[in-house]
């Protein structure tokens, strides 16, 4: 009985000590500095990064089906070099017919929709993508169509 308590105590105590070790002042400083220096060095703000992420999703979903929420876009430092790392969890690549079919559908849809869809398309692109991912489950194609028409609207 005593052994069990002692074992438990050691485990709990050990857990807290480990947690303490994980975040010391030095490591916090190093981690915070890394992030802030990446922003300083590239002049890229978090807002711009988010916008870029949204547009990349839009472009890439023309060609592949992917897990949009798990897409990662981050800076990584390797020695002297700064790299923009894009990690895309691909579910399935679309075949040529699909891509073409979508493109042609788009042009038809664009004509129909162009009157309905007005100015808000441009500003709320990325949030729209995130929101529409819920609808995706019901009707996957509609989402990609939507984002494609958005890009058409933008180019006009």
């Amino acid at each position: 009985m005593r052994d069990i308590f002692q074992d438990l105590f050691n485990k709990v105590f050990g857990f807290f000590r480990q947690a303490e070790k994980e975040e010391n002042a030095k490591e916090t400083a190093v981690n915070r500095l890394r992030v802030v220096l990446m922003q300083d060095r590239t002049n890229l703000t978090p807002e711009l990064l988010e916008k870029m992420r949204g547009e990349l999703i839009e472009l890439l979903s023309k060609y592949v089906e992917m897990d949009k929420d798990a897409l990662e876009l981050n800076f990584e430092q390797e020695g002297n070099q700064m790299a923009l790392m894009l990690s895309i969890p691909v579910l399935r690549a679309k075949d040529e017919d699909e891509i073409e079919a979508e493109n042609s559908e788009d042009s038809e849809e664009a004509e129909e929709k162009s009157e309905e869809e007005s100015s808000d398309a441009e500003s709320s692109e990325s949030t729209e993508d995130a929101e529409s991912s819920a609808e995706d489950n019901q009707d996957e194609e509609s989402e990609t169509e939507e984002s494609n028409t958005n890009s058409k609207d933008k180019s006009k």
């Binding site: 400083a29 190093v30 060095r41």
Partner: protein
Amino acid sequence: MSGRVIVITSGKGGVGKTTTSANIGTALARAGKKVVLIDTDLGLRNLDLLLGLENRIVYTIVDVVEERCKLRQALVKDKKNPNLCLLAAAQTRDKSAITQEQLKDICEELKKDYDFILVDCPAGIEQGFQNAIAGATEAIVVTTPEMSAVRDADRIIGLLEAKEEIQSYKLLLNRVRPNLIKSNDMMSVEDVVEILSADLIGIIPEDTGIITSTNKGDPIVNDDSSLAGKAYNNVARRIMGEDVPFLNLEESRGVLSKVKKFFSGLIGKEK
């Protein structure tokens, strides 16, 4: 003779640019090199105080630029070391009193007669900084193991890299506190070097002796018993091309720590 022009800069204020300039300059002069220290912090000059020369200044760099005196007349000789002299900043003028071109000309002129021209840069990245780096081909970036100082050093390194004339820059880590590093409360030398990915030219320990030496107007390199003085001397030797290993700062030198070491040694033996 064609001397080397080295700018000592940091971005952030208060990390020890002027102390570093005074000490490296003095150490180089002690090693027999002919050295000029230029204070470019117009309006906020301090290098004269650190060298104890504040009462000997007649002409300043602005007087040279505005042709009220010859360059040679404005050079103030050090009290102890005839190899060292100071071109002081004007205290009553601001950064716009001299241009990059003018500072470059002064450096070119001094190169003929001196081995080293050390330019003490003001804090910031504005005109004062641009002036200071104008004539230099090498740079020493002074920083401390603190976030704000490292961030500013990173910015300065970016600006130095963009400047073609600067052929090389080195990092000098000042006010290092081995005890805080040991307890993981301060970034280590390795952390800073890795983050900035720059070559290191010196590690200077925090030393209360710096305060007294500043008060006396006598650079700490003149005190042979000081660890910071020794570290600055090593920086000077590295600048001259010697391969000097970095000091081991882990060994504390206080009397108390020696006593502690003695006792812990005894205890160790008993086991």
